[in-house]
Symmetry: C2
Subunit: 333 residues, 2 copies
Amino acid sequence: MKKSITLKELSKILKVSISTVSKALNDSYEISEITKKRVREAAKEYNYKPNRTAMNLKSGRVNTIGVILPSLKNFFLARVLRGIENVIAKTDYNIIISITNESHEKEVQSVLSLANGFVEAIIIAVSEETQVLQDYSHLENVKDKVHLLMFDRVVNTIPCDKVLVDDYDAVLNAVKELQFNGRKNIALTSTINNLSVGKLRIKGYTDAINEYHKPIIIEGTVEVIKKALREKLKEESIDAIIALDEEASLASFKVGKKEKLLDNGKISLIGYAGKTISENLTPSLTTINQHGKKIGRTAAKMILNKLKNENEKPEEIIIKSTLYNRETTRIKE
Amino acid sequence: MKKSITLKELSKILKVSISTVSKALNDSYEISEITKKRVREAAKEYNYKPNRTAMNLKSGRVNTIGVILPSLKNFFLARVLRGIENVIAKTDYNIIISITNESHEKEVQSVLSLANGFVEAIIIAVSEETQVLQDYSHLENVKDKVHLLMFDRVVNTIPCDKVLVDDYDAVLNAVKELQFNGRKNIALTSTINNLSVGKLRIKGYTDAINEYHKPIIIEGTVEVIKKALREKLKEESIDAIIALDEEASLASFKVGKKEKLLDNGKISLIGYAGKTISENLTPSLTTINQHGKKIGRTAAKMILNKLKNENEKPEEIIIKSTLYNRETTRIKE
DNA sequence: TTGAAAGCGGTACCAT
DNA sequence: ATGGTACCGCTTTCAA
């Protein structure tokens, strides 16, 4: 690959000093118009572009923000990323993205590597494994070197910017709405029992059903949920399901569909899932919308603000979820 | 933010020269074991980490690959990205991602900026606007500075690595399959008439139906497609639809569903859409799978190979699509 | 108005 | 075995 021409080479061609060329290109008042013109023309002719690495080294900045995500499969995280991208694209910062695939090891590696001169700030949703292991030393390690912002799955013990989802309230309210609509025996399905957000959501559920009936909680992989749910539907008189994530939502949907309980409204279903899929299912799926894009935008703005005003103290913002009522809660028996 | 300690500072603390510290940390044979030990311990104590920017400047390399995508909404592109990530994660390269939102201007900016010292290679699917304008000068510009790989939407006139989809064949075969199953009047819907891949797919369609009936091509936005399709369904005796992208697929699906033509197999439907949504629709959607992840993996491997062997000549690989038969082509009248 | 030189944080060659 | 120094490409201060 051809390398770009450097200031030095350009200065040799023009038979002036390096500093003259540099100043001319930066439109310094010290340089005569005539020289500036000569230099600019030569720069154009030889397609001179300043070397980023050199400028970064000189300035001590890299103008880059790291985004560490557990997965891109997850529609919510993908939307958050788009929100972040949206805001950052308008600035002179760049984004570098790392996907951990829910692996703690990969996350540690990414965090340390990015924090080490690659980026000035990190926006992260920690991986499932990290939350299980509760090992946050890598984040502790870097929190003085780069600005840190956690969203969705956060670590409470680390003081830093946070953008949170109102998991507890969202599920509590969703369940209450089911109850308000006459549902008396509500089951819960989840594949994210390991996540902090999953736990908060379950708390919302148990608190909501508290005085009415005993909890029916079905956690595990998609297959486990399908099997267990099918059985529970036979044993107990379940008339509604709340699903805590997309996988659980679709698993519950499939079972409900197969057992012929959804199309006729014998059970209601509220889930977490992307808009496209929720709208296109038959019946369409009522969901709790976390406003991923807004979360991303908020996170990006917060971190830009910290980058600008070095000494501001950590903030914490909660983005409220919204219930999107669709057919799975609208069909009456 | 606290800055990392530098070699210089460390050398001052240890009262040895900078070069000694550098060599010790790099385990040079020139340094005595005892000094190495001292240095290593101090490095650990002060949490010394070499400055990436400095090393990059010194080595003239940045170990980063840029990925430029038109959108992340697109399930196919998201999967390609995961494929790329998958392969690159196993190397010491980093990925920097830029989303153009189908804008030519953003693409030009991204390409030039990334090529200018940010990355050593660029993997790109050009934006819709770029294909409409047919302005590829930014790519011409950088193709000697960084390794370039285009996938999916490629520019034929630029010689560089390419990973292609067999758009023409895939649609041709899909239509033939519909015909083999007795479908006699096949319509086509598409929101990607601006894209090279969209055009190739239409060619596949027209060549397939060629001798049998005149083409019924419905192009435009989702709303346009819905309206036009509804009308065409009334006028003409359409018994099958092929949709060229996810939006067109879902629009066609919705119309077919509403007109009660899908559940009873009065029309067949083949589309392009992600696995999750296709499987969960009722009836489930037969799709042409482009194997996005494989495309991503292939692209990443190709570019890594070029990075390793500077002088290899450009390659071109075609990844064959596969028809996934689901209910929209299985239900018989 | 121009240029020399120091410095950003490393590596590596050459002396000592 | 250790240290001095040049260099990567740029900016910036200071001197001419």
